[in-house]
């Protein structure tokens, strides 16, 4: 099976090709949609099965690592690009990290595909959706399983493209298209960092492969005893490594929505909900964490970069949580919670506990997918309504969806013994033990963030499910929401942020979602409940051991900074457990207590109060990040582009040069073409002139050049 691991990547790709041409195969739109709805989840789940089959084989290998060809039939050294010393191969790296991610991508991805077959069933452009969706799975798998930086970069760009395509899936709404552009453009900044980091890696290590059989891969060289070695065997300075790591981290910032490149993620919720669940919560946005973990050998040797990662992480976590406190759109709350949770993951990486980071990636994939899909079910039930201010009382109407959301909320809030609790607790403990100092501060902010997380998640639950319904008698209250106004005139293309189901149902009755949407929720709920306790507790840190071969051992850096002997943890684990539990439960309880008193409105502050409250405005407007960017980049940049670059540089200097050169070229051409008389005699004359000049030139060079030294006679074998 190991040699057939290419199937994992190829199956979704084949699915993509199939969907892309399905319009040519099927004349009947309904038949096409039906077939696509089977093929799309089918290929992803098949890839999941292949991954499951490959996993034990890889773990049975002594190094827990295998490199397999990406293109069947070719070797692992089948070059993609080969030029002199620069070679990039078509190969996949199978190790615990890549397989874990492959399992998440295909497993959770497969569930979300199944969900999407229900969610998108009414959309006339469903085949296009699944085309992008399968392509995304392919690109994501390429990203996590790539054998080298360049192939990873291909996946990296590929998922970015798919993200862009899917955010603006309903492209007829200009807001969606703008959100797609925003995501794409902000990500370019990060990608530039990644690309520069990749070039730096190549110039230092002379290769882009992570591991090679002869031990010359980037990570092989980085893991050498006594510090990283460059391609010539010389030690790499800490400064160089820091530069590389910081550049790579800039890439991670973009993809994983960290300060300052986080602004695209909340807007990305403009896409269909399965997209938000799969791409903008469970998989793609964790790519940065995966990449940092993959490069852990480099990062642990660059303490400055590590500290940056940690601080950016905790700052993002805190900021995301505060903004999440005041959002009204159900998906936006979840988006900010994603930003916040990603910050936790980077915090874990920054303090050197990459396994904890990956653990949180895994559990987060489960409960955040659960939450998004649940919110999607809510939106589905509410016929496209996303604003929590117009919900309430849904617990009675859609009890099964409520249960799913309930589990998800308690998991993310860190309710004891649920998945999120274990992973978050591990990160907080690691932060407390930070090898770079200031552990207690990180721990404190982390706890505060956890408290806020629990609060805003339960706020979401209360506003949506418990408070008095803010619509009448199972029928939606007619209102002025612009999303609903659009679809009357345009039956086919009225796709607003969430009204995709608006035209599907004649009556506005709130209803439970179909089984194809509920079954994935049940599976994810089980995982959200049980995964953490099984992996972290019952099996005695199984997860950590599983990932060990893929991450840098602590000995690489801890020994350099701290005395290992006699070091006791600042607080015993049990105390940490209790603190985490208390904080989580406190956050949940506070929300419940406050909202219990506002059953009627479901809002703590009246609208008029909100407009006056500066703190509220500060949070509601996302700490004024967008305004700041607008001021800096759009206004200043616009002025610069208009006045300086265009009018002065472009129109004045560049155009002048270009037109001048073009004029000169044209003039020369008109002169030279006179030589082209069409007469053979003239041609021969020109040739003869050329001969004279060539001979003369060679002889001149000959007279100028000093005699060459007589060299040693080479052996006869060398020259035939």
């Amino acid at each position: 099976m190991l040699q057939n691991a290419w199937l994992i990547v190829w199956l979704p790709l084949l699915g993509f090709f199939f969907h892309a041409i399905s319009g040519l195969i099927f004349k009947d739109r309904a038949a096409q949609k039906r077939v696509v709805a089977y093929i799309a989840p089918g290929v992803v789940l098949a890839a999941f099965l292949v991954t499951c089959a490959v996993l034990p084989e890889v773990m049975a290998l002594p190094a827990h690592r295998a490199t397999v060809p990406l293109i069947p039939g070719l070797g692992t050294d089948a070059p993609w690009i080969k030029m002199g010393g620069f070679q990039v191969n078509f190969a996949l790296l199978l190790d615990p990290l890549s397989l874990l991610m492959a399992l998440i991508v295909t497993g959770v991805g497969g569930l979300i595909h199944v969900y999407a077959t229900g969610y998108m069933a009414e959309d006339p452009e469903q085949p296009r959706f699944f085309t992008y969706f399968n392509l995304f799975i392919f690109m994501m798998l390429l990203l996590v399983m790539a054998e080298n930086f360049l192939l990873m970069f291909v996946g990296w760009e590929g998922v970015g493209t798919c993200s862009y395509l899917l955010i603006s899936f309903w492209y007829t709404q200009v807001e969606n298209a703008k959100a797609g552009n925003k995501a794409f453009i902000v990500n370019r900044v990060g990608d530039l960092g990644f690309a520069l980091g990749m070039m730096a890696v190549w110039s230092v290590f002379g290769t882009l492969s992570f591991f090679t059989t002869d031990g010359r891969g980037v990570l092989d060289l980085a893991a050498v005893e006594g510090g990283a070695r460059d391609v010539l065997g010389n030690p790499v300075s800490a400064g160089t490594l820091t530069l590389i790591c910081m550049l790579l981290f800039v890439g991670a910032m973009g993809k994983s929505a960290q300060i300052p490149l986080w602004v695209w993620l909340p807007d990305a919720m403009a896409g269909p909900t399965p997209v938000s669940a799969l791409i903008h919560a469970a998989t793609m946005v964790t790519a940065g964490v995966v990449m940092v973990t993959r490069c852990s050998w480099l990062f642990v040797q660059a303490p400055d970069a590590m500290q940056l990662v940690g601080w950016i992480g905790i700052a993002t976590a805190f900021m995301g949580a505060t903004i999440g406190l005041v959002q009204n759109d159900i998906k936006r709350v979840l988006a900010f919670s994603t930003v916040s949770q990603l910050g936790y993951m980077f915090l874990a990486c920054g303090v050197g506990n990459f396994t904890a980071g990956m653990f949180h990636v895994t559990t987060h994939a489960f409960f955040k997918a659960l939450l998004f899909l649940g919110s999607g079910a809510v939106i589905h039930s509410m016929l496209g309504e996303q604003d929590m201010r117009r919900m309430g009382g849904l617990r009675k109407l859609i009890p099964r969806t409520w249960l799913m959301m309930f589990i998800g909320t308690y998991a993310i809030a860190g309710f004891p013994l649920l998945s999120g609790f274990w992973s978050k607790d591990e990160i907080l403990e690691a932060a407390l033990e930070s090898p770079w100092g200031s552990g207690p501060l990180l721990y404190g902010i982390g706890l505060l963030t956890a408290f806020m997380t629990a609060f805003y998640m339960n706020r979401l639950m209360w506003k949506t499910f418990y408070t008095e319904p803010r619509f009448v008698d199972g029928q939606l209250v007619p209102h002025h929401h612009s999303n609903f106004d659009a679809h009357d005139g345009h039956e086919e293309h009225a796709h607003a942020g969430g009204d995709e189901h608006g035209h599907a149902h004649g009556s506005g009755k709130v209803h439970e979602s179909p089984p194809s949407m509920m079954v994935p929720l049940y599976v994810l709920a089980v995982l959200s409940v049980g995964f953490g306790i099984v992996m972290a507790h019952f099996t005695g840190g199984r997860f950590e051991h599983f990932l060990e071969p893929s991450v840098a051992p602590k000995s690489l850096y801890v020994s350099a900074l701290r005395h290992e002997e006699g070091h006791a943890p600042l607080i015993p684990p049990v105390v940490g457990f209790v603190i985490s539990s208390v904080v989580g439960i406190a956050g949940l309880s506070l929300a419940a207590l406050l909202y219990r008193q506002k059953m009627q409105t479901g809002a703590l502050l009246p609208e008029a109060e909100k407009a006056r409250n500066p703190v509220y405005q500060f949070l509601y407007n996302k700490w004024w990040w967008d305004a700041l960017y607008e001021r800096i980049f759009l206004q200043t940049g616009g002025w610069l582009a208009d006045r300086v670059l265009w009018r002065l540089v472009d129109a004045g200097i560049v155009d002048g040069i270009v037109n001048g050169v073009a004029g000169a070229v044209g003039l020369m051409a008109r002169i030279f073409r006179r030589v082209q008389t069409g007469y053979v005699r003239n041609y021969a004359l020109v040739m003869l002139l050329g001969v004279v000049i060539l001979v003369g030139g060679l002889l001149y060079q000959w007279s100028k050049e000093p005699p060459l030294p007589v060299r040693e006679r080479p052996s006869a074998a060398g020259v035939q």
Partner: protein, 504 residues
């Protein structure tokens, strides 16, 4: 080495020659032209494919053993560079044959000699690539050229074609004289007190390594050798024939001539320059000057052309300049740069062959009964009337201009990086500047096709849009894009230099 082994080492050439002769005989001896039509076309395709298989096999063995063998008393060398050039030439011939049939019929030129002559000149080019002796080189240049002289006058009832053939022949004979004179001078100039001179490139290489300063005679000989080969490769100022001949010759001949002759000439140039590398200081500046002149001359003159074939002729001159940059980079005493440049040249030759055949293929596709597509104006609004042709042409133009994700871009990039490795930074910069000019006239065609309204909006049925022409275009397109995105798949070409004979 026994006789069988000698013959085996040039087996692909022999297959091509034998096919040519059989086609010729069969064509002359069968009366029914309808039968002949398929016989000549099909059999020459078959022969080229056989040769391709044989060359591929040999290449595979060669890569496995990395053993370069000489044959015929050292006058022929079969190494992976040779075999790579075989493959490229054979692919060119394949496309030229695929292109030809309906086109020739359309112009009432459906004579079996076309295929035989293409095969003979292919054999000549292949011999140029494997010659290790200046005499063999000369003979193979003549085999290539004579067939091409006839081919360019193939439309014998058209004055333009006759004029092209005559011009090509006269100037070609002129250049051959220089080449032969150069060989004689090299022979005389490489004589020492104890030994007669040599025309064998390996011996010459050895002589140059051992004796420091070359004689005046040798320098003159080298200069004249360059003249002879520069004519074949159409380097400025030995390029004057190119536009007239390319314009006058039937388009399928032009396509073949543009690619095939250039491949042969550059293979030979690379061999000669590798042998002369030990005294590179003496002649490298001249080659670099030629390269600069060729790049700028070709590109600048292409800018003002209105005739597509003439424009492509000038563009082919410019491409010869880029290839000469690779030759220059291969002639330094730096093994890594040498290898990189050899590989880059092999890649670029492949790219150039495919994109040229493709571009001319589109012109053939668009030519109407009895009349070739002539001016750039004829392409106006093509994207509306014939989307396939327009977008194929678009890709070929982008590739010729060196824009990703095409093979032309990768090829240029490889040459560029090899030149930098060789330390010839200024030459790389000049090359980049020259190719900027080229973008203008390639995009002019794109602009005419895609951004102009057609004169007549209806879709035109093109007379020559046969399966063979379509196949050529599609094959070229696929090669262009696949290897433009996945250049590593052509790794064989890039490794071509690893077993070449001479070390500078």
């Amino acid at each position: 080495m026994n006789y069988a082994a000698n013959l085996m080492s040039i087996m692909p050439v022999l297959i091509v020659l034998a096919t040519g002769m059989i086609v010729l005989l069969g064509d002359a001896c069968s009366a029914q032209w309808r039968a002949r039509r398929w016989y000549t076309w099909g059999f020459s395709l078959f022969g080229v494919l056989m040769a391709l298989v044989q060359a591929g096999n040999q290449l595979q063995t060669q890569m496995a053993t990395t053993f370069s063998e000489t044959a015929f008393a050292g006058s022929i060398v079969t190494d992976s560079f040779t075999l790579t050039c075989y493959v490229i030439l054979l692919i060119t011939a394949l496309l030229a044959i695929l292109l030809a049939m309906t086109y020739l019929e359309n112009r009432n030129l459906n004579l079996g000699e076309y295929y035989a002559l293409v095969l003979f000149s292919t054999a000549g080019g292949m011999l140029m690539a494997c010659s290790n002796d200046l005499i063999v080189l000369f003979v193979s240049v003549e085999i290539l050229s004579v067939a091409l002289y006839v081919l360019s006058g193939f439309a014998r009832t058209e004055e333009k074609s006759e004029e092209a053939a005559l011009k090509y022949f006269l100037l070609g004979a002129f250049a051959s004289g220089f080449l032969l004179y150069g060989i004689a001078l090299v022979y005389g100039g490489s004589a020492t007190a104890n030994h007669a001179g040599t025309t064998n490139l390996a011996d010459l290489n050895l002589y140059l390594i051992n004796d420091g300063r070359p004689s005046v005679l040798l320098m003159c000989g080298i200069a004249l050798l360059f003249v002879g080969l520069a004519f074949k490769a159409a380097l400025v100022p030995f390029h004057m024939w190119t536009p007239d001949v390319y314009e006058g010759a039937p388009t399928s001949v032009t396509a073949y001539m543009a690619a095939g002759a250039k491949i042969g000439a550059f293979a030979a140039l690379m061999r000669v320059c590798s042998a002369l590398a030990p005294i590179g200081e003496y002649w490298l500046p001249a080659v670099q000057t030629l390269a600069v002149l060729t790049m700028f001359g070709g590109n600048i003159l292409a800018v003002v052309q209105d005739n597509v074939k003439r424009m492509l002729a000038y563009s082919s001159i410019a491409h010869a300049g880029y290839l000469l940059v690779a030759v220059s980079a291969a002639s330094v005493r730096n093994e890594q740069a040498h290898n990189a440049a050899m590989g880059a040249m092999a890649f670029y030759l492949m790219a150039y062959a495919v994109m040229t055949m493709g571009a001319f293929g589109v012109l053939i596709y668009l030519s109407r009964k009895g009349r070739d597509l002539q001016t750039i104006e004829d392409l106006r609004g093509l994207a509306r009337t014939d989307t396939f042709a327009a977008y194929a042409m678009l890709v070929f133009m982008l590739s010729l201009g060196g824009i990703p994700p095409t093979m032309g871009f990768m090829g240029k990039w490889f040459i560029f990086s090899a030149t930098l490795q060789a330390g010839q930074v200024w030459l790389a910069i000049v090359m980049a500047l020259a190719s900027i000019i080229s973008i203008y006239y390639y995009l002019k065609i794109v602009w005419m096709m895609c951004f102009q309204e057609p004169e007549r909006p209806e879709v035109v049925e093109h007379a020559v849009a046969s399966g063979g022409v379509r196949a050529t275009i599609v094959l070229s397109l696929a090669t262009m894009l696949v290897f433009g995105i996945l250049p590593g798949a052509l790794g064989i070409l890039l490794n071509a230099a690893e077993t070449t004979v001479f070390r500078p």
